[in-house]
């Protein structure tokens, strides 16, 4: 099986650690993942802000880059949902073949590889935010939770009001800042109520928004992408923690 990583522009540029963790994890599970250099962005920001033509161009580009692979793994719920929900409307002919081969990370692990225990070790108190596009777009259900429950040492605490939007919504966060911030404040309140050390999600854009508020409020709660927790082992955990707490 030829497997490609679609890193997404946000992860590529701002959260390379998530990409490295995804590669580490997949290689540990015996998947030789490729990184097609020509990839850029799924087009979500353009389409959801009202710039459809640019989105169509990027959808076609995506199909060209990933057309030759058997599976494409995306460590992002919202970019995955963009491909699956919107590409068939934007460029049905060009993307028809590639769309069914695109998997969000937890889907790939559970549905394709058939593993729920990825051999990870992460001895911390973690709460999980399901993010709207993972939940209502991709219908990931409890896949991420099943993966987290199998991580050794990890204490998973339920997040109150988990299914509510954090208020990111792409350009919504800057177009409607007052409402976005109010939504985030409630999400942060719920995160704090769990007493978790780490807030985990399958989407770094939502985490960037919630995390930006968590650090602004000096809460000490860290944000981590699902891939980073699943990649952690006894050996790798130390480095990750040291890096994370570096100024």
């Amino acid at each position: 099986m030829r497997v490609a990583l679609f890193i997404t522009c946000v992860n590529d540029t701002l959260f390379p650690g998530t990409g490295k963790a995804t590669v580490t994890l997949l290689r540990r599970l015996g998947v030789d993942v490729a990184f097609p250099r020509a990839q850029t962005c799924c087009g979500q920001m353009h389409v959801n802000t009202g710039y459809r033509e640019e989105g169509v161009r990027l959808a076609r580009h995506f199909a060209e880059v990933f057309g030759g692979y058997d599976a494409v793994v995306v460590p992002s719920g919202s970019c995955g949902a963009m491909v699956r929900e919107q590409y068939p409307r934007l460029a049905p002919a060009a993307t028809g073949e590639v769309v069914p081969k695109v998997y969000e990370l937890s889907e790939f692990l559970i549905d394709v590889l058939g593993v729920t225990d990825v051999g990870a070790y992460f001895p911390h108190r973690v709460t999980y935010h399901p993010t709207c596009h993972s939940l209502r777009g991709l219908h990931l259900g409890d896949r991420p939770l099943r993966l987290l429950r199998n991580v050794r040492g990890l204490e998973l605490v339920p997040l109150p009001g988990a299914e509510e939007c954090c208020g990111f919504g792409g350009t919504f966060a800057v177009k409607n800042p007052a409402i976005s911030a109010a939504m985030c404040a409630d999400k942060v309140g719920n995160v704090m109520a769990t007493g978790a050390e780490v807030l985990c999600a399958a989407d770094n854009s939502c985490l960037m928004h919630i995390g930006g508020t968590l650090t602004r409020q000096k809460t000490g709660v860290k944000i981590m992408h699902l891939a980073e927790i699943l990649a952690a082992t006894e050996a790798a955990e130390v480095t990750a923690t040291i890096e994370r707490s570096a100024p």
Binding site: I7, C9, N11, D12, T13, L14, F15, P16, G17, G19, K20, A21, F35, A38, Q39, T40, M45, V47, N48, T49, G50, Y51, E54, R57, L58, H61, Q86, C132, R136, G137, E164, C165, G167, F168, G169, G170, T171, F172, A173, V174, K175, N176, P177, A178, I179, S180, A181, A182, M183, H209, G211, G212, T213, T215, R216, A236, A240, E243, R244, S245
Partner: protein, 483 residues
């Protein structure tokens, strides 16, 4: 075409949604009232929907019936007109709000009456009927409890089902005490804010009205084409009073409210109460066909922008709406912004897709409505007729005029994303300038840094790391993880 009127005063239209919402979100009383009320209804809805094993099937049936009807709307409307006429009713066609208001005013004037009682109706609010009648010297009295609160308080509705959702008991008591006397029977002395006492005050105030008024005005939840029957679902029984006691009944109904047959109604009598009030069945369902002896019945069929919406392939699904307000009750934006911020009688997610379609996107407010959503999808999930509200929002965004600065930014981003080399160069530039990014950004981007920190820009992008290492992750440092 003149701008479609949607029953809201000018002041709410002057600013965009973000500015309206920014004011509302600071009103802690409003936030508290809305949060409490929407969460209560949300919970009730979820419980009664979970009871039905075939909910998804019902939902798809509701969607299919509405789509079929909308595709054949011309045929069903003519069938309805013939059936209503055969049953002794009169049918009038109104292109827009002005025409509908004129028809109703003329009909009321012909009766010689100067007072009418009203059944809760979105269509008459949409056309601003009460104000139009007042200009003709006719007073319209709202009889739905929540509408009464809004009317007495000189206020605007902020929710489809519970127009006074932004008010709490104490506020309602105050409104009753201060204003009821001006409109009719005053509130009893020493009125408390006990819900039962408030309901009793309203009952006494309204009962006089029902017995003395000769003309009633209603809308309808459904119109059944095969028999010409109109259907109203309600909780209080006040609607039934209006529908049965007066001599003349005038119903103003949007053309999309039609259903072909009684069999179709069965589906909606399950979908609507569970979605709107969270009840298995609503307390009162009134149906009437044409005119009963000694009474007169007029049906005013209202377009007011609907045929324009029908012409839009993506947007037309909004016409399936049965005004249950489930989408409002789950919307995190509505919960914090309140209904008035939407500047239309249709607030919340359905308002965000319906108002700009009916009214066009000429004003700043109407242009901003398609953006009044984080696209979280909670509305689509609960909608009993499966309106893909996020899909319509995104489609409307593509049709909206965009601000210049944003256009330039998006064009620049598009240029970079079109070539991987350009993206790599931009990332390297960002990595090099990372130290100079200020904690607080200037201009429109300050909207981000006012409440949130920016993520640290990593020294090296993922793609550069991949080039350098071939994607080998052994013992090398996991870089760029600190946030």
């Amino acid at each position: 075409m003149s701008r479609t009127f949607l029953g809201m005063p000018g002041r709410a239209l002057e600013r965009g949604f973000p500015a309206n919402a920014a004011v509302a979100v600071r009103d802690s009383q409003l936030r508290f009232n809305l949060r409490k009320a929407t969460r209560t209804i949300r919970g009730k809805r979820a419980a009664v929907v979970a009871e039905l094993p075939d909910w998804e099937g019902l939902r798809q049936a509701g969607k299919a019936i509405k789509d079929h009807t909308l595709r054949n709307l011309d045929r069903y409307l003519e069938q309805l007109e013939a059936a209503v006429t055969a049953a002794g009713g009169h049918v009038h066609w109104a292109r827009d709000a002005d025409e509908a208001n004129r028809i109703v005013a003329d009909l009321v004037r012909a009766t010689g009456e100067t007072e009418v009682v009203k059944v809760k109706s979105m269509a008459t609010q949409e056309i601003g009927l009460n104000e139009a009648l007042a200009a003709e010297g006719v007073t319209a009295y709202e009889t739905d409890l929540a509408e009464l609160i809004v009317q007495l308080g000189d206020d605007w509705p902020s929710h489809i089902l519970v127009p006074a959702i932004h008010r709490n008991r104490a506020e309602i008591r105050e409104i009753f005490q201060e204003r009821m006397g001006e409109w009719g029977r005053p509130a009893p002395e020493h009125l408390t804010d006990d819900p039962r006492a408030l309901a009793e005050a309203a009952r006494l105030h309204l009962r006089e009205r029902f017995l003395s008024t000769k003309v009633a005005i209603s809308g309808a939840n459904f119109m059944i084409a095969e028999t010409g029957t109109l259907v109203v679902l309600e909780s209080e029984g006040n609607g039934r009073m209006c529908l049965t006691l007066p001599r003349t009944l005038i119903s103003v109904v949007g053309i999309e409210k039609i259903l072909p047959t009684w069999r179709d109604l069965e589906v909606f009598l399950q979908l609507l109460p569970r979605s709107s009030t969270g009840e298995r069945m609503n307390p009162y369902t009134s149906t009437w066909t044409g005119a009963t002896e000694g009474q007169e019945f007029h049906l005013v069929l209202l377009d007011n922008g609907r045929t324009g919406v029908l012409a839009d392939e993506v947007g037309r699904q909004a016409l399936r709406c049965i005004r249950c307000s489930a989408c409002l009750n789950v919307c995190p934006v509505y919960e914090r912004a309140g209904g008035h911020a939407y500047g239309s009688v249709y607030p919340g997610p359905i308002g965000a897709i319906l108002t700009p379609q009916l009214r066009g996107m000429g004003s700043e407010l109407d242009r901003s409505l398609p953006y009044a959503s984080s696209l979280c999808g909670a509305c689509y999930e609960v909608c009993p007729v499966a309106i893909d509200i996020p899909e319509v929002l995104v489609d409307l965004r593509a049709k909206a005029r965009h601000p210049r600065a944003e256009r330039l930014g998006m064009a620049a981003a598009g240029w970079i994303f079109n070539r991987p080399e350009r993206l790599a160069l931009a990332q390297r530039a960002g990595g090099r300038l990372r130290r100079f990014v200020p904690k607080r950004l200037p201009g429109p981007m300050s909207a981000w840094t006012d409440t949130r920190d920016l993520p640290d820009i990593p020294r090296e992008s993922f793609r550069d790391w991949w080039d350098r290492t071939g994607g080998r992750t052994g013992t090398e440092r996991q870089d760029g993880g600190a946030r």
